[in-house]
Protein backbone atom coordinates (compact mmCIF):
# COMPACT_ATOMS: atom_id res chain seq x y z
CA UNK A 1 0.00 0.00 0.00
CA UNK A 2 1.52 3.36 -0.97
CA UNK A 3 1.99 6.32 1.36
CA UNK A 4 -0.81 8.41 -0.22
CA UNK A 5 -3.38 5.62 0.26
CA UNK A 6 -2.25 5.22 3.82
CA UNK A 7 -2.25 8.92 4.68
CA UNK A 8 -6.00 9.20 5.19
CA UNK A 9 -5.99 6.32 7.66
CA UNK A 10 -2.76 7.06 9.46
CA UNK A 11 -4.39 8.65 12.51
CA UNK A 12 -6.64 5.70 13.29
CA UNK A 13 -3.78 3.26 12.72
CA UNK A 14 -1.56 5.15 15.17
CA UNK A 15 -4.35 5.27 17.74
CA UNK A 16 -4.98 1.54 17.32
CA UNK A 17 -1.29 0.70 17.75
CA UNK A 18 -1.06 2.87 20.88
CA UNK A 19 -4.20 1.28 22.32
CA UNK A 20 -2.00 -1.68 23.26
CA UNK A 21 0.24 0.52 25.41
CA UNK A 22 2.67 3.45 25.38
CA UNK A 23 5.29 3.42 22.59
CA UNK A 24 7.93 5.72 21.13
CA UNK A 25 7.91 6.82 17.48
CA UNK A 26 10.14 4.09 16.11
CA UNK A 27 8.21 1.39 17.98
CA UNK A 28 4.92 2.73 16.56
CA UNK A 29 6.26 2.29 13.02
CA UNK A 30 7.63 -1.16 13.78
CA UNK A 31 4.34 -2.21 15.33
CA UNK A 32 2.45 -0.93 12.27
CA UNK A 33 4.72 -2.93 9.97
CA UNK A 34 4.53 -6.03 12.11
CA UNK A 35 0.76 -6.01 12.61
CA UNK A 36 0.13 -5.43 8.89
CA UNK A 37 2.58 -8.15 7.82
CA UNK A 38 4.76 -5.48 6.19
CA UNK A 39 1.96 -4.17 3.96
CA UNK A 40 1.66 -0.84 5.76
CA UNK A 41 4.95 0.86 5.01
CA UNK A 42 5.37 4.62 4.76
CA UNK A 43 8.27 7.08 4.85
CA UNK A 44 9.20 6.72 8.51
CA UNK A 45 9.58 10.44 9.19
CA UNK A 46 5.93 11.13 8.36
CA UNK A 47 4.78 9.39 11.54
CA UNK A 48 6.19 12.20 13.72
CA UNK A 49 4.08 15.11 12.40
CA UNK A 50 1.06 12.83 12.85
CA UNK A 51 2.06 12.01 16.44
CA UNK A 52 2.53 15.70 17.24
CA UNK A 53 -0.79 16.56 15.59
CA UNK A 54 -2.69 13.87 17.53
CA UNK A 55 -1.09 15.11 20.72
CA UNK A 56 -2.08 18.70 19.89
CA UNK A 57 -5.64 17.44 19.38
CA UNK A 58 -5.58 15.90 22.84
CA UNK A 59 -5.86 12.31 21.57
CA UNK A 60 -2.34 11.39 22.68
CA UNK A 61 -0.17 12.32 25.62
CA UNK A 62 3.61 12.06 25.67
CA UNK A 63 6.48 12.19 28.09
CA UNK A 64 10.23 11.79 28.06
CA UNK A 65 11.83 8.56 29.14
CA UNK A 66 15.38 7.29 28.99
CA UNK A 67 16.50 4.11 27.24
CA UNK A 68 20.15 3.05 26.99
CA UNK A 69 21.16 6.57 28.01
CA UNK A 70 19.07 8.13 25.21
CA UNK A 71 16.12 10.45 25.70
CA UNK A 72 13.02 9.32 23.90
CA UNK A 73 9.48 10.56 23.69
CA UNK A 74 6.89 7.96 24.62
CA UNK A 75 3.31 8.38 23.44
CA UNK A 76 0.16 7.00 25.03
CA UNK A 77 -3.54 7.20 24.34
CA UNK A 78 -5.57 9.67 26.38
CA UNK A 79 -9.17 9.01 27.50
CA UNK A 80 -10.29 11.22 24.66
CA UNK A 81 -8.07 9.24 22.29
CA UNK A 82 -9.66 5.99 23.46
CA UNK A 83 -13.12 7.36 22.80
CA UNK A 84 -12.08 8.71 19.41
CA UNK A 85 -10.58 5.35 18.47
CA UNK A 86 -13.86 3.64 19.37
CA UNK A 87 -15.81 6.01 17.13
CA UNK A 88 -13.35 5.61 14.26
CA UNK A 89 -13.44 1.81 14.61
CA UNK A 90 -17.23 1.79 14.34
CA UNK A 91 -17.13 4.08 11.32
CA UNK A 92 -14.50 1.96 9.64
CA UNK A 93 -16.45 -1.24 10.34
CA UNK A 94 -19.57 0.27 8.79
CA UNK A 95 -17.59 1.49 5.79
CA UNK A 96 -15.79 -1.85 5.31
CA UNK A 97 -19.02 -3.86 5.65
CA UNK A 98 -20.76 -1.63 3.13
CA UNK A 99 -17.98 -1.90 0.56
CA UNK A 100 -17.75 -5.65 1.20
CA UNK A 101 -21.48 -6.03 0.60
CA UNK A 102 -21.28 -4.15 -2.68
CA UNK A 103 -18.17 -5.96 -3.92
CA UNK A 104 -19.38 -9.42 -2.91
Amino acid sequence: MNAEELKGHLDVLILAVLATGPLHGYAVIESLKQRSGGVLALPEGTIYPALHRLEADGLLASEWSTASGRRRRVYSLTKRGEKDLGVRRERWQLFANTIEAVLA
Binding site: H24, P43, H52, R72, R73
Partner: protein, 290 residues
Protein backbone atom coordinates in the same frame (compact mmCIF):
# COMPACT_ATOMS: atom_id res chain seq x y z
CA UNK B 1 26.02 18.70 7.45
CA UNK B 2 24.24 15.75 9.07
CA UNK B 3 20.63 14.81 8.45
CA UNK B 4 19.66 16.03 11.93
CA UNK B 5 21.40 19.40 11.43
CA UNK B 6 19.62 19.87 8.11
CA UNK B 7 16.32 18.93 9.72
CA UNK B 8 16.93 21.42 12.53
CA UNK B 9 17.66 24.17 10.00
CA UNK B 10 14.58 23.35 7.94
CA UNK B 11 12.40 23.31 11.06
CA UNK B 12 13.77 26.72 12.03
CA UNK B 13 13.06 28.04 8.53
CA UNK B 14 9.50 26.71 8.77
CA UNK B 15 8.99 28.74 11.96
CA UNK B 16 8.91 25.84 14.44
CA UNK B 17 9.69 27.21 17.93
CA UNK B 18 13.04 26.23 19.46
CA UNK B 19 11.62 23.96 22.17
CA UNK B 20 9.46 22.01 19.74
CA UNK B 21 12.38 21.86 17.29
CA UNK B 22 14.67 20.40 19.90
CA UNK B 23 12.05 17.77 20.76
CA UNK B 24 11.58 16.76 17.11
CA UNK B 25 15.33 16.49 16.49
CA UNK B 26 15.73 14.38 19.66
CA UNK B 27 12.96 12.06 18.48
CA UNK B 28 14.56 11.69 15.06
CA UNK B 29 17.97 11.10 16.67
CA UNK B 30 16.45 8.33 18.79
CA UNK B 31 14.86 6.86 15.67
CA UNK B 32 18.20 6.86 13.82
CA UNK B 33 19.89 5.26 16.83
CA UNK B 34 17.35 2.44 16.66
CA UNK B 35 17.76 2.06 12.93
CA UNK B 36 20.69 3.94 11.34
CA UNK B 37 19.43 2.97 7.88
CA UNK B 38 15.93 4.38 8.42
CA UNK B 39 14.51 6.42 5.56
CA UNK B 40 13.03 9.35 7.41
CA UNK B 41 12.32 11.45 4.34
CA UNK B 42 13.47 14.78 2.94
CA UNK B 43 13.95 17.29 5.82
CA UNK B 44 12.41 20.21 3.88
CA UNK B 45 8.96 18.71 3.20
CA UNK B 46 8.99 17.09 6.66
CA UNK B 47 9.60 20.44 8.35
CA UNK B 48 6.84 22.00 6.25
CA UNK B 49 4.48 19.17 7.25
CA UNK B 50 5.13 20.00 10.91
CA UNK B 51 4.55 23.69 10.20
CA UNK B 52 1.33 23.00 8.25
CA UNK B 53 -0.26 20.79 10.85
CA UNK B 54 0.94 22.57 13.98
CA UNK B 55 0.28 25.99 12.44
CA UNK B 56 -3.30 25.02 11.61
CA UNK B 57 -3.99 23.63 15.06
CA UNK B 58 -2.32 26.51 16.87
CA UNK B 59 -4.22 29.10 14.82
CA UNK B 60 -7.50 27.34 15.61
CA UNK B 61 -6.71 26.91 19.29
CA UNK B 62 -5.61 30.54 19.58
CA UNK B 63 -8.91 31.69 18.06
CA UNK B 64 -10.95 29.52 20.45
CA UNK B 65 -8.90 30.68 23.43
CA UNK B 66 -9.17 34.34 22.42
CA UNK B 67 -12.94 34.07 22.15
CA UNK B 68 -13.27 32.22 25.47
CA UNK B 69 -11.20 34.89 27.24
CA UNK B 70 -13.18 37.68 25.61
CA UNK B 71 -16.43 36.00 26.62
CA UNK B 72 -15.15 36.01 30.20
CA UNK B 73 -14.12 39.65 29.84
CA UNK B 74 -17.55 40.52 28.47
CA UNK B 75 -19.27 38.72 31.34
CA UNK B 76 -17.05 40.53 33.83
CA UNK B 77 -17.83 43.90 32.28
CA UNK B 78 -21.56 43.15 32.41
CA UNK B 79 -21.28 42.19 36.10
CA UNK B 80 -19.21 45.31 36.70
CA UNK B 81 -21.76 47.59 35.07
CA UNK B 82 -24.75 45.88 36.64
CA UNK B 83 -23.21 45.97 40.11
CA UNK B 84 -22.76 49.71 39.57
CA UNK B 85 -26.20 50.02 38.01
CA UNK B 86 -27.80 48.48 41.08
CA UNK B 87 -27.51 51.84 42.81
CA UNK B 88 -29.77 53.54 40.30
CA UNK B 89 -31.67 50.58 38.84
CA UNK B 90 -31.18 51.06 35.13
CA UNK B 91 -29.03 50.12 32.18
CA UNK B 92 -25.72 51.93 32.04
CA UNK B 93 -25.88 55.21 30.21
CA UNK B 94 -29.59 55.04 29.53
CA UNK B 95 -32.17 56.98 31.45
CA UNK B 96 -31.22 59.75 33.80
CA UNK B 97 -27.67 58.72 34.62
CA UNK B 98 -25.13 59.09 31.89
CA UNK B 99 -21.61 58.03 32.58
CA UNK B 100 -20.25 61.25 31.05
CA UNK B 101 -22.11 63.25 33.72
CA UNK B 102 -19.63 61.89 36.28
CA UNK B 103 -16.46 62.27 34.25
CA UNK B 104 -14.34 65.35 33.47
CA UNK B 105 -14.33 66.62 29.89
CA UNK B 106 -10.83 65.41 29.15
CA UNK B 107 -12.03 61.91 29.94
CA UNK B 108 -14.21 61.77 26.82
CA UNK B 109 -11.44 60.72 24.37
CA UNK B 110 -10.47 58.02 26.88
CA UNK B 111 -14.03 56.71 26.89
CA UNK B 112 -14.11 56.78 23.10
CA UNK B 113 -10.99 54.59 23.03
CA UNK B 114 -12.70 52.20 25.48
CA UNK B 115 -15.76 52.12 23.28
CA UNK B 116 -13.76 51.41 20.12
CA UNK B 117 -11.48 48.75 21.64
CA UNK B 118 -14.44 46.94 23.19
CA UNK B 119 -16.28 46.83 19.87
CA UNK B 120 -13.19 45.77 17.91
CA UNK B 121 -12.37 43.05 20.47
CA UNK B 122 -15.89 41.66 20.28
CA UNK B 123 -16.00 41.74 16.49
CA UNK B 124 -12.48 40.38 15.92
CA UNK B 125 -12.88 37.64 18.55
CA UNK B 126 -16.22 36.50 17.17
CA UNK B 127 -14.88 36.51 13.62
CA UNK B 128 -11.76 34.57 14.64
CA UNK B 129 -14.00 31.96 16.24
CA UNK B 130 -16.28 31.85 13.22
CA UNK B 131 -13.44 31.25 10.76
CA UNK B 132 -11.68 28.72 13.03
CA UNK B 133 -14.94 26.83 13.55
CA UNK B 134 -15.71 26.83 9.83
CA UNK B 135 -12.28 25.25 9.19
CA UNK B 136 -12.43 22.89 12.17
CA UNK B 137 -12.30 19.73 10.05
CA UNK B 138 -9.49 20.82 7.76
CA UNK B 139 -6.21 19.08 8.66
CA UNK B 140 -4.31 21.96 7.05
CA UNK B 141 -5.80 25.38 6.42
CA UNK B 142 -4.54 27.65 3.65
CA UNK B 143 -1.83 30.19 4.46
CA UNK B 144 -4.33 32.97 3.71
CA UNK B 145 -6.87 31.54 6.16
CA UNK B 146 -4.21 31.13 8.84
CA UNK B 147 -3.17 34.77 8.44
CA UNK B 148 -6.77 35.94 8.84
CA UNK B 149 -7.48 33.74 11.88
CA UNK B 150 -4.26 34.85 13.59
CA UNK B 151 -4.83 38.53 12.84
CA UNK B 152 -8.35 38.40 14.21
CA UNK B 153 -7.28 36.55 17.35
CA UNK B 154 -4.33 38.89 17.98
CA UNK B 155 -6.39 42.04 17.49
CA UNK B 156 -9.16 40.67 19.70
CA UNK B 157 -6.72 39.89 22.51
CA UNK B 158 -4.95 43.26 22.35
CA UNK B 159 -8.20 45.25 22.20
CA UNK B 160 -9.71 43.06 24.93
CA UNK B 161 -6.73 43.69 27.20
CA UNK B 162 -6.84 47.44 26.53
CA UNK B 163 -10.59 47.58 27.28
CA UNK B 164 -10.26 45.55 30.44
CA UNK B 165 -7.48 47.84 31.62
CA UNK B 166 -9.10 51.14 30.69
CA UNK B 167 -12.67 50.58 31.87
CA UNK B 168 -11.91 49.73 35.51
CA UNK B 169 -9.14 52.35 35.52
CA UNK B 170 -11.95 54.92 35.38
CA UNK B 171 -12.84 53.89 38.89
CA UNK B 172 -9.37 54.52 40.22
CA UNK B 173 -8.50 57.68 38.29
CA UNK B 174 -11.84 59.50 38.42
CA UNK B 175 -13.32 57.78 41.45
CA UNK B 176 -16.45 55.63 41.80
CA UNK B 177 -19.44 56.56 39.67
CA UNK B 178 -22.95 55.06 39.84
CA UNK B 179 -22.08 53.03 36.76
CA UNK B 180 -18.66 51.88 37.91
CA UNK B 181 -18.26 50.83 41.50
CA UNK B 182 -15.54 48.21 41.66
CA UNK B 183 -15.02 45.89 44.58
CA UNK B 184 -11.53 44.57 45.49
CA UNK B 185 -12.59 41.11 44.29
CA UNK B 186 -13.62 42.57 40.95
CA UNK B 187 -10.27 44.39 40.68
CA UNK B 188 -8.42 41.10 41.18
CA UNK B 189 -10.65 39.39 38.58
CA UNK B 190 -9.97 42.16 36.06
CA UNK B 191 -6.19 41.98 36.68
CA UNK B 192 -6.20 38.20 36.25
CA UNK B 193 -8.17 38.49 33.04
CA UNK B 194 -5.90 41.19 31.59
CA UNK B 195 -2.93 38.96 32.40
CA UNK B 196 -4.66 35.96 30.75
CA UNK B 197 -5.46 38.00 27.62
CA UNK B 198 -1.85 39.15 27.31
CA UNK B 199 -0.51 35.67 28.13
CA UNK B 200 -2.51 34.25 25.20
CA UNK B 201 -0.75 36.55 22.73
CA UNK B 202 2.56 34.62 22.39
CA UNK B 203 0.75 31.52 21.11
CA UNK B 204 -0.91 33.64 18.40
CA UNK B 205 2.50 35.00 17.43
CA UNK B 206 3.90 31.46 17.31
CA UNK B 207 0.97 30.41 15.14
CA UNK B 208 1.66 33.38 12.86
CA UNK B 209 5.24 32.21 12.35
CA UNK B 210 4.05 28.67 11.56
CA UNK B 211 2.30 29.67 8.39
CA UNK B 212 0.95 26.67 6.47
CA UNK B 213 2.17 26.27 2.89
CA UNK B 214 -1.22 25.39 1.39
CA UNK B 215 -2.30 27.88 -1.23
CA UNK B 216 -5.77 29.31 -1.63
CA UNK B 217 -7.97 32.36 -1.14
CA UNK B 218 -9.05 33.45 2.33
CA UNK B 219 -12.44 34.70 1.15
CA UNK B 220 -14.38 37.35 3.05
CA UNK B 221 -17.23 37.86 5.50
CA UNK B 222 -19.60 35.95 3.23
CA UNK B 223 -17.21 32.99 3.31
CA UNK B 224 -17.33 33.16 7.12
CA UNK B 225 -21.11 33.01 7.03
CA UNK B 226 -20.94 30.04 4.67
CA UNK B 227 -23.65 31.21 2.30
CA UNK B 228 -23.73 30.77 -1.48
CA UNK B 229 -26.46 33.36 -2.00
CA UNK B 230 -25.12 35.83 -4.57
CA UNK B 231 -27.25 38.61 -3.07
CA UNK B 232 -25.27 38.44 0.17
CA UNK B 233 -22.18 40.62 -0.07
CA UNK B 234 -19.83 41.79 2.70
CA UNK B 235 -21.05 45.40 2.32
CA UNK B 236 -24.70 44.37 2.59
CA UNK B 237 -23.99 42.26 5.68
CA UNK B 238 -22.17 45.19 7.32
CA UNK B 239 -25.01 47.54 6.44
CA UNK B 240 -27.66 45.13 7.74
CA UNK B 241 -25.73 44.74 10.99
CA UNK B 242 -25.45 48.52 11.39
CA UNK B 243 -29.19 48.95 10.86
CA UNK B 244 -29.89 46.18 13.39
CA UNK B 245 -27.67 47.96 15.93
CA UNK B 246 -29.50 51.23 15.30
CA UNK B 247 -32.90 49.56 15.79
CA UNK B 248 -31.86 47.80 19.02
CA UNK B 249 -30.33 50.97 20.49
CA UNK B 250 -33.44 52.96 19.59
CA UNK B 251 -35.69 50.36 21.19
CA UNK B 252 -33.54 50.43 24.34
CA UNK B 253 -33.86 54.22 24.34
CA UNK B 254 -37.64 54.00 24.00
CA UNK B 255 -37.77 51.47 26.84
CA UNK B 256 -35.94 53.88 29.14
CA UNK B 257 -38.10 56.85 28.06
CA UNK B 258 -35.23 58.53 26.23
CA UNK B 259 -35.86 57.91 22.55
CA UNK B 260 -33.59 60.74 21.43
CA UNK B 261 -30.69 59.34 23.44
CA UNK B 262 -31.36 55.86 22.05
CA UNK B 263 -31.35 57.08 18.45
CA UNK B 264 -28.18 59.07 19.06
CA UNK B 265 -26.40 56.08 20.56
CA UNK B 266 -27.75 53.85 17.81
CA UNK B 267 -26.38 56.16 15.14
CA UNK B 268 -23.04 56.28 16.93
CA UNK B 269 -22.85 52.48 17.26
CA UNK B 270 -24.05 51.85 13.70
CA UNK B 271 -21.60 54.44 12.36
CA UNK B 272 -18.78 52.85 14.35
CA UNK B 273 -19.70 49.47 12.87
CA UNK B 274 -19.48 50.81 9.32
CA UNK B 275 -16.27 52.75 10.02
CA UNK B 276 -14.77 49.60 11.55
CA UNK B 277 -15.78 47.62 8.49
CA UNK B 278 -14.20 50.18 6.18
CA UNK B 279 -11.03 50.63 8.25
CA UNK B 280 -10.35 47.03 9.26
CA UNK B 281 -12.35 45.14 6.62
CA UNK B 282 -9.44 44.17 4.43
CA UNK B 283 -6.99 43.60 7.27
CA UNK B 284 -9.38 41.21 9.01
CA UNK B 285 -10.46 39.50 5.80
CA UNK B 286 -14.03 40.81 5.89
CA UNK B 287 -13.90 42.14 2.38
CA UNK B 288 -11.61 41.67 -0.58
CA UNK B 289 -9.88 44.38 -2.56
CA UNK B 290 -12.57 44.42 -5.23
Amino acid sequence: MSYLDTLDNELALAGIPRRRRSRIVTEFADHLDENPGAELGDPGPLAQQFADELGTRLARTSAYRAFALLALAGALLVVLFFSGGRTWGGWVGYGYYRITAYLPGWWVPYMIVCFITAQVALAAGSLALLRAWRLRNQPVMTAADAVIVNRRAALALVCGAVTMTLVPATHFVVGPTPALAISPAMTVAVCVLVFALLAALPSVLTAARLRPSREGQAGDLVTDLGTDDARVTPWRVALALSVAILVVATLLGIRTDDTYDGILRGLLDAGACMIGFIALGRYLGLRTAS
